[in-house]
Structures are given as C-alpha cells and as structure tokens.
C-alpha cells in the first residue's frame, strides 16, 4: 500500500511502538488499581474511587486506540503497524478475559466468549470505527500542512466507520442488544451443544 504521508521521519521499531506500549502499561496500572481498592474503609471514599477508576478504565479502553494510532503515525509507523499497535491494548484485554473465563469454560468456549457483544467484540468493532476516524482526521491534519497527498475522506475508512456504527447499533441498541445476544447464543448452541 502506497504511503501518501510525506516528511514524517520513520523512528526505530521500538520507538514506533512506544505509544502502544505506553497505552498497554496504562491499562495494566488502571486494571490493577481497580482490582485493589477493597482496603478503603470509608464507604463514600471507596465508592468514589471505584466509580472513578471504572469509568476511567472504560473510557481508556474505548478511546486509547484513537490516540495511539495518531501517535504512531507521528513516529512514522505504516498502516499495518498503526492498526496492530492500536489493537494491542484491546487484544491484551481479550487475552486477559480468555484466561479469566477459562476457569469455567473449555478452551473453545473461552475463545468463543470473546465474540460476545460486551465487552470484547463490541470493543473490537468500536475500535475499527475509531481507527478509521482517526485516520481521516490525521489525513486532514497533515493535508493542511501539505504533508499528505491523497483525499482526506476515502472510501475504505469511511465504509469502516459507517459499518462500525451500524454494527454497534445492532450489538448494543437494537432491542437493547437482545437480538444480538440471541444470535450469539444460538451460534453457541450450534457449535458446543
């Protein structure tokens, strides 16, 4: 794929992936904090801390890819690297979930668990739309500075964004997610029962 970004210096591999690594580390820290707040005796403080850390964790997981994508572009990462880096934290989250649920489920079921709307599949679908949007915004930013040669809005990122929105609507909003869950469970029964 032709790289239409110009005058962006390509940093070393490690430096290119540093934003993704930092995002992963940030998630790990937040996750560890969220798991270890039981020592707070005061009810109000505990509640405030739990609410804060979980909301931050939720938005962190949901949005970090947007910034990682942009930061990696600035380090000269190509498209595949940007996508891989942006998916690093959601992927780590998915692996953590697979390990966690493998206590109760078979290996196959544990992987199938990740196709569940919330949290993993929804996060991955959301992430796809987010990265496509991030790509278009990056193009706009660099085009203004004459460092991007193509169109700001292109068919592929636009289609991915639209697909992501439609999928999210179906997964979470249509019938409160009930229909998506029904399809998921019917698939489960076909494969595992």
């Amino acid at each position: 794929m032709e790289n239409k970004y110009r005058h962006i210096e390509k940093a070393s591999f490690l430096k290119r992936f540093m934003p993704a690594g930092a995002a992963l580390l940030g998630w790990l820290v937040l996750h560890l904090i969220s798991e270890n707040l039981g020592w707070i005796e005061n009810r109000g403080t505990y509640k405030l801390a739990m609410n804060t850390v979980h909301v931050v964790l939720f938005f962190y997981l949901a949005f970090n890819g947007f910034f990682v994508y942009r930061a990696m572009l600035m380090k000269g990462a190509n498209l595949v690297e940007r996508i891989a880096g942006s998916y690093m934290t959601p992927l780590a989250y998915a692996i953590k979930e697979i390990i966690r649920v493998s206590e109760f489920f078979t290996v196959g079921e544990s992987f199938f668990y990740c196709l569940l709307t919330y949290p993993v599949l929804g996060l991955f679908v959301w992430q796809a739309g987010l990265l496509a949007t991030s790509e278009m915004l990056c193009r706009k930013y660099y085009k203004k500075r004459n460092r991007y040669e193509g169109n700001t809005v292109a068919a592929v990122p636009l289609a991915i964004s639209i697909f992501s929105l439609i999928a999210l609507y179906f997964l979470f909003l249509y019938d409160d997610g009930g229909t998506a869950f029904y399809i998921y469970m019917e698939s489960y029964k076909m494969i595992f029962k």
């Binding site: 609410n51 909301v55 109760f104 489920f105 079921e109 919330y118 009930g178 029904y182 998921y184």
Partner: protein
C-alpha cells in the same frame, strides 16, 4: 314398642353399624371433595427474600405481600436449590432437584416426555388448572395436557417484555399493544378465577417482574428516585455493569447500579399493586377462606454484594427466596413466622397434599402441610445447592450443602472449596475449611453432598 329378641337386637345393631359406617364414609368423601381448596401459586422473578415492606425495607411499600404475611405463614428460611430462572422454575413444577428434572441451566431443554408437573396429579384430583405467565424453560413451549388454560410468552428468549409483550394464549400468539405485562397477566388470572365451575381451581401465576431490564409502569416510574440508598452493601458502586462480564446479566450497562435498583423496586411495587387487586377479587368472590395462596420467587438477587448484580452463585442473598403461604382454613396461628428450612422443591408436594391429590412419587421435596398446621417446626436439616455451567456467565459450576448454620461449597475449576458460617458470616468471607472447626465438619458435609447427588460427590 315391641320387645326385641336377642337375635333381632344383634341384627339391628349390625345393620346400624354397617349403615353408620356407610353413611359415615359417603359424607366424609363428599365433605373432603367440598373442602378441596382453590390454589393460587404466585411466582415472582429475581425477588429478594428481604424485599417485602414487612421485612423492614427502608422505603419499599408492599401492602399486598404484607397482607399475605399477616394472614398466613411466612417462611423466613426459604431457599431455591438452584439460583437460576429455568432450573428453579422446573423445580417448582416437578418438586425435583435440577440434576433430576434435567433443566440444569438456561439452555438445557425441558423434557416433556420425562418430566411430569404437579398439574397432572392435581387434575386427577378434580381441579381445573391454569398456567399464566412466564414459562421460560429452554426448548419449545410444551403442550401440558393437564392444563385447561396455558398463557405464556416466548419473546426475548422467554424473558418477555414489560410493555407490549405478545402472549401465546392456548397456543395462539396474540399481540398485546399498550399492555403492561404484570397487569395483563393479572387480568387473565382474575378472568380465570372468576370462571363459573363446580371444580376447584389451581392457578399458577408466573410473573416477569422483577427480572431485568426493569421497567415500571408509567405512573410508578420514578417514585423512588429520591430515596436514600446508603443501606446497599458497602462494596456496591455505581458502575458495576462496567466490570468484566457483568453487563451480560441483562442490566442495561448504560444505567448505574442505583438507577437499576430503583427501577427494580418500582417494578416490584407494580407487582404488589396487582397482587392487592387479585386479593381483593378473591374477597369479592367470597373465596378467600378456601383459597390457598403461595407466594415465592424463583431465586434471590445480589444488589452489590460481592460486587455483583445477579444471582448466579450460592450467596445467601441469591439462594434465599420469599415464601409465604396463606390459607385461612388450613393454617394454625396465622400471622406467624416459621424458621424451618423450606425449598422451591417443596411446592409441588405441599400443593398436592393440600389438594388431597396423589403425591408425586418422584419428588425430592417435602410437604409443608404439617408446618402450616403447626404440627412440625421443620421438615429438614439440610439441602443440596446446585449451579451448573451456564455459558457465557462467568460463574463456575458448583455444588454445596446448606445446613442450618453452615454451607459447604465445592467448585469446578480453580476456586477452592469452602465452608462458611451462614449466620455469623453471610457474606462468605471467612472460609473455615482449613480451620479445626471446618476440618471437623468436612467429612459429614462431603457425605451429605454425595448422598444428595446420588454418589456424585463434589463433581470433580
């Protein structure tokens, strides 16, 4: 009067004796027939055992349920044997543990060839039967031959909707636009009990309320919005649904725990309002005294305990259920609390006993009639708890034995088995299994578990 010979006297005495016996027998049978009570079983969904106004809830007003408690026997140590909708519902209907009736989770189908409900025996005893409401067991909705009326729903995988829920009325799907389900089901229940018949009735009224996603009727929406919720457990926080795997319980992840809890209470208030209406109808019909009403829930519910919103483990709040029986003609000392352990599997044998029907031979439960008549304080010392894997819910398969003071739990997977003092430690935080006390109890607990499970032990 002519003097009788000895022979005549003996002959007459004999005839009188036979006559009296026959005369005594015939009216006795007729009398028993007349005395068969009407039966109403009301099943709520996910209602906690302590969510009745009379249980001291800070703001919940439940005059209907409180009336049943005042006029009946309130079983304050009532439990479900599996804290999950479908298995518990099958246990109510069959009187069996889940490993016997086979509905182990929300995916394993109800076997209509193998399973017999208590309706069969009740029908044989001369009743007309109706099942109205939530069936919610996997597989196709079966044809239950012993039902004269069968109204249920299959929308949303059998969970139904609070509003506009299509009903399957005796096999015919019918749209119900503009209807609120708790009211709609109660309307059908009242219609059934008002039907003119010489037969007594048995009504199984199974509500959607108060299962998620909680939606109160419009006039009750927000009635608890300003209530103080500081009584909820310490570990509760607003965004429990953002925890891994919690949102799939059915609670809308976009609402906070507090918002969901208020809606739960409002939906419960709506149920109670319909209960008041039903009880009033019985009064108007003059059949209150001869109608046995049982109120129970399929399982309990956690509202923040163990950072959970749900019901899928053996926590006290999940396995305890409300259980009240009102039967003015058949209860000694109404208005009392009974602390003997009773179970969902006791419903079938109890109803059959009250109806004078043949007992269900395959039942694991025990009739509570002696407790109603105050002849016995308890019918058991322990019971089996089972929870089978229910993908994709993040809970290990588990089996346990609950005695009056302790619970022993064994889990599939990595989680360590435990023994907990349910009175001193209802949150199950202090595992006694490695203590001298726990080690003393362990062999007996294991023996009981194996006995209940037909030798299967802790399943490992």
């Amino acid at each position: 009067m002519k003097n009788m010979t000895r022979r005549e006297l003996l002959s007459m005495t004999g005839k009188l004796a036979v006559g009296a016996t026959v005369a005594g027998l015939v009216p006795k049978n007729l009398f028993a027939r007349e005395q068969q009570p009407n039966i109403i079983f009301i099943l709520t969904d996910d209602q906690r055992w302590d969510h009745l106004g009379c249980m001291g809830h800070p703001f919940l007003k439940t005059p209907g349920m409180d009336r049943l408690v005042r006029e009946g026997v309130h079983f304050t140590n009532a439990f479900c044997t599996t804290s999950l909708c479908s298995p518990s519902r099958a246990s109510f209907l069959t009187g069996q543990y889940a490993h016997n009736h086979g509905v182990k989770d929300n995916l394993s189908a109800w076997d209509n060839e193998k399973n017999r409900t208590f309706f069969d025996n009740i029908k044989e005893a001369g009743y007309r039967n109706a099942f109205i409401g939530k069936w919610h067991m996997p597989g196709k909705i079966p044809k239950i031959n012993s039902l004269d009326r069968f109204i249920t729903f299959d929308a949303s995988g059998g969970q139904g909707y609070y509003y506009n829920c299509p009903l399957i009325i005796d096999g015919v799907k019918t749209e119900r636009p503009g209807k609120y389900i708790t009211t709609d089901l109660t309307d059908y229940a009242i219609e059934f009990i008002k039907e003119k018949s010489k037969k007594p009735f048995c009504l199984y009224l199974s509500h959607k309320a108060v299962h998620s996603p909680w939606r109160p009727p419009k006039d009750l929406d927000g009635i608890y919005k300003n209530e103080d919720l500081s009584f909820l457990p310490k570990e509760t926080f607003s965004f429990i649904s953002l925890l891994s795997g919690k949102a799939i319980e059915g609670a809308p992840p976009f609402l906070t725990t507090e918002q969901n809890y208020r809606r739960y209470c409002e939906s419960l208030t709506a149920f109670d309002r319909e209960l008041v209406r039903l009880l009033g109808e019985l009064d108007r019909l003059g059949i209150t005294r001869n109608t046995a009403i049982v109120l129970a829930s399929d399982n309990g519910y956690s509202w923040g305990e163990h950072m959970d919103v749900g019901k899928r483990d053996a926590s006290e709040v999940n396995i305890r259920i409300p259980f009240v029986i009102r039967y003015p003609r058949g209860i000694a000392n109404p208005g009392r609390r009974s602390e003997g352990m009773v179970l969902n599997i006791d419903l079938a044998p109890t109803l059959l006993d009250l109806a004078g029907a043949a007992p269900k031979r395959d039942s694991d439960g025990i009739s509570l009639k002696p407790m109603l008549e105050n002849r016995k304080e308890k019918v058991r010392d322990s019971f089996l708890y089972e929870y089978f894997k229910d993908f994709p819910y993040n809970v290990p398969e588990q089996y346990g034995v609950r005695t009056e003071n302790h619970i022993y739990m064994a889990y599939q997977g990595r989680r360590k088995a435990g023994i907990f003092d349910v009175n001193k430690d209802p949150g199950y935080r202090n595992n006694l299994i490695d203590t001298p006390e726990g080690q003393r109890m362990l062999p007996e607990m294991k023996r009981l578990l194996a006995q209940y499970r037909g030798g299967a032990g802790d399943g490992k």
